[in-house]
Point group: C2
Chain length 151, copies 2
């Protein structure tokens, strides 16, 4: 028995909504100290005086939180071998301590590989939403899926 979702099983127009990522001040500051030490990611007072009016998460941290939700909810069961990359990433609204993020995905294209017959590409539009249903980040991912092996 094999329940994996192969490239052939993915259909254009499929939507998924998943994830629940509570954003904490501690994690925002910890990530920023290591990877993005700008004042508005590190320090409440400096952030309050900035154009953001308060502490906000690094954009790369928001991407990492998206990845965690994808790992927990979307990758299990999928015969995917990882993303090639993505297009059109936009950070649309600040992510703040106390926010709770979730993800909505939409399959917009499935593309055969010209060079390999064992994989195909799936194009997925992803939105990261906050608890008010507002987009905080959007992007289009190009993900490789394995083709269904011959029966």
């Amino acid at each position: 028995m094999n329940d994996l979702i192969y490239w052939e099983d993915v259909k254009v127009g499929e939507r998924q909504r998943f994830g629940r990522y509570p954003v904490t001040r501690e994690e925002i500051v910890e990530f920023a100290r290591q990877f993005d030490p700008q004042p508005f990611h590190l320090d409440e007072a400096a952030a309050g005086a900035s154009i953001f009016g308060g502490l906000i998460a690094s954009g790369w941290h928001t991407g990492a939180m998206l990845m965690r939700m994808i790992c927990d909810h979307a990758i299990p069961g999928a015969a995917s071998t990882g993303a090639i990359g993505f297009d059109d990433l936009r950070w649309l609204r600040p992510v703040r301590p106390g926010d709770v993020l979730e993800v909505e995905t939409l399959v917009t294209d499935t593309i055969e590989s010209r060079s390999r017959n064992d994989v195909g590409t799936v194009k997925i539009q992803s939105r990261v939403l906050n608890q008010r249903g507002e987009d905080v980040m959007t992007l289009t991912s190009l993900v490789l899926y394995r083709r269904r092996p011959p029966a």
Copy 2:
């Protein structure tokens, strides 16, 4: 005296090369545990048996390492107010423990804002290179810079 680099000071064709980020097994695993817990980012044995043939960094971790090099070398002195997002991100080669990463940037466009006269956009192509000079990740960033205040 004001030595900040404003939007007017950024010229198309400008190149910079900077950064030196040694990639460690410990950091790869730590990042993956928190944000991207897939076997080939977590465990040497599982990674050895995967298509990657050994432990590799999460793509989002590579992005975070790029951000750290940008914070340390490119943001100081720049009147930038953050990135809007980016386009055409591609993960081209695995990043492995022992690699040492650096960055090369090229300004490809400077665009006036249609809605705001205090900022402009700078389009920057970035390459993350390993110690063999191979591209491991490329992307195009859209960064807001403040306009030079009237004298």
